[in-house]
């Protein structure tokens, strides 16, 4: 398996585009994206568990209930959530794809991201749909355009693609993601669109992504707020020509491994680009009672405001890590907790057996000044492991969110 370029255009038969249609005032900011496949795709998705859901989620659920889709349309700048006419507008977005591409509206995945509770005007999208379709293409730059169009407070593109083999056939899979604030997915994720030319049945595709997100997107937290619009959708058009994966086995495992390589890369990208973040934090837990307890502990650490602020200040305040382990709700013997801070600059042991050990504050400062920090927690309770992804808490997080709407 190799990482390659191309994002959602890496797989055969997919085209993408992103343009500015006028939903945002800033004319240099693209605000609507389109991704289309040359043929029907097995399609699966997972969504936010928030009871307050964006209208596009209801429409997408209905459209892919048969496991088939061919296009994705997504705008930024407005979440189309908590609006009286939300469903109507989300359906109108799908209808625009049908009108201009001939793809049935019922085969379109629709998503929106941005401010909640302000009516989404369909007019700017309708007026620019022809332009959007004309912009479609299959190069890496086209994927990047689509990625830009779904970004909100994101500061960097989040695209990953891999090539891999299934039953001797070369396949590709690529994804784009957005997500910077209101990120604390639960059985779902931010906006992530993944395309692949591998052939796989809708049922197996759904199974693969459900299993994957438990260890990837559901382990990312920027600020503990679970969005109303989280959506991860995967479109598999089968153009790689491998025998269609319809049951578990080697081919399925190969597919899942490629998916994991892709999604873990996107998770790291989302966490590192958390609103205001200066550092990517990874909590790596081993030795927990089981994986579920390991996940609770890893996520509790990565979610702790105090730990996040300490990492911002390059302060080896490991007591906050112990504290977060203690209130995680996980089963854990607190007298068997070891903690190390690890980065490219080295590692420093700060806690053994639940109690502090002498360490060089100077060395710790050097280790914690790196842009990527791993908080390594080694427990003595069993074989459970988990990794969670987060970022530091900074002045800029407050700045960005103190006045997001203006």
């Amino acid at each position: 398996m190799n990482y390659i370029n191309g994002g959602v255009c890496a797989a055969k038969g997919f085209r993408a585009a992103g343009i500015h249609c006028g939903l945002r005032k800033n004319k240099t900011k693209k605000d609507v994206a389109l991704i289309v496949s040359d043929c029907d795709c097995s399609t699966a998705a997972v969504y936010t568990t928030n009871l307050v859901k964006g209208a596009p989620i209801d429409v997408t659920k209905k459209n892919i209930a048969n496991g088939i889709a061919r296009a994705v349309i997504c705008n930024s700048g407005n979440a189309n959530t908590c609006n009286a006419n939300g469903i109507e507008v989300a359906e109108a977005m799908c209808a625009l794809v049908e009108k201009h591409m001939g793809i049935p509206a019922a085969d379109v995945v629709v998503a929106s991201t941005g401010v909640i509770g302000q009516p989404l005007d369909i007019a700017p999208m309708a007026a620019h749909m022809e332009e959007l379709v004309a912009a479609l293409g299959s190069t890496a730059a086209h994927s990047t355009d689509a990625n830009e169009a779904i970004m909100t407070t994101d500061t960097v593109h989040k695209e990953v693609a891999v090539e891999f083999e299934i039953a001797g056939k070369r396949c590709a899979m690529g994804g784009i993601a957005k997500g910077s604030g209101m990120i604390h997915p639960n059985m779902a994720t931010m906006l992530v669109f993944i395309t692949t030319d591998a052939a796989i049945s809708p049922a197996l595709l759904q199974k693969a992504i459900r299993a994957d997100v438990a260890d990837t997107f559901n382990m990312v937290s920027v600020d503990g707020d679970t969005s109303t619009n989280d959506t991860l959708a995967v479109l598999a058009n089968g153009m790689a020509g491998n025998p269609t994966i319809t049951e578990e086995g080697k081919d399925y495992d190969d597919f899942c491994a490629a998916l994991r390589a892709l999604t873990s890369g996107l998770c790291r990208a989302i966490a590192a680009d958390g609103e205001g973040a200066t550092k990517l934090l990874t909590a790596a837990v081993t030795g927990a009672v089981d994986n579920d307890n390991a996940r609770r502990i890893a996520k509790s650490i990565i979610t702790s405001s105090l730990t996040k602020a300490a990492m911002f200040g390059a302060d080896a305040n490991w007591g906050r890590v112990l504290c977060a382990i203690g209130y995680s709700g996980a089963q854990v013997d607190v007298h068997k907790v070891d903690v190390d801070f690890v980065s490219a600059a080295g590692e420093v042991a700060v806690c053994r057996g639940g109690a502090g050990v002498d360490f060089s504050e100077e060395k710790a400062k050097v280790v914690l000044t790196e842009p990527e920090i791993t908080i390594r927690v080694t427990l003595g309770d069993g074989d459970g492991i988990a990794t969670a992804y987060g970022c530091d808490l900074t002045y800029d997080y407050v700045k960005i969110n103190g006045d997001y709407r203006t």
Copy 2:
């Protein structure tokens, strides 16, 4: 019932003191407090649910297992948590009270607050114990000294006292609290010491505080981090001369009403002084399925980083309130949610029936620029009510916690 001055010295037979003994480098910062009663007290306490617990909690639990105590000793600057010799040091603190006051070590409530994981040196306290005892007195200023000695990043004193009657006898009750960061109590609270001269059995006292904290301290959140050292202890010495309360009934209800007046005042004080806070936020929920669901919703709102940052920026971004309601885990009909922002400057309706309504951004800005904001949520699901207390998320929270130890 009236609010009065005097803090923990408001009730008959209690003396208090707070001095600098040298645990902190800053010589102007008091760091050890002592509260003593002239006679034995019915004593009850609730503690953090964090599995990582401060050593003083284990010692206090043992000492008040019989429902009796006569003194409280508490230091700041070091939490005496995650230390190999923590129990030993906490017991040594109690022994100092016995040596210098003649009060048995087993009748002492002990607590510590500050940095986790650094050994607590008993020597500075031992060297200054005589001075601490000599400083004891029963004026309001003595309570304030004790309050100062338990503060960490707190910026204001938190003292409340009330006078009330039980069976015709005038009683008093007063408390001091500390708590600014690492505040998200769960079945317990920050450090809160309450004294009263009302006569009540230990069992009824324990019952009263358990019931009270569910609606008061457990509804406060500054940063979602549940401390390792949360302790609320109440000492009732009976010197008011009322017939001892040993069962539920009017006297018990009168006692609970006084307790609630005291604790709700301390909760507001803790939330308003949250680390870096510029605003006290109150989430007032009515119409929930039941009180438990109302509590989940109120606490979810008050804990949302995005909502807190919006309040800092006086931004009426009510979508974040809806979002927090949606992921609270509470049972709620999201199409029957009304939201209003309320302050001394007026009120503004922002959401009706789960969807946005037109409102004046200008007026909202004025309402949200006040130092006390109520987020009023009216549901259509039942009779459940709850109030939660929190604060905004500011640059200073990050600053304070980015380098707390230096």
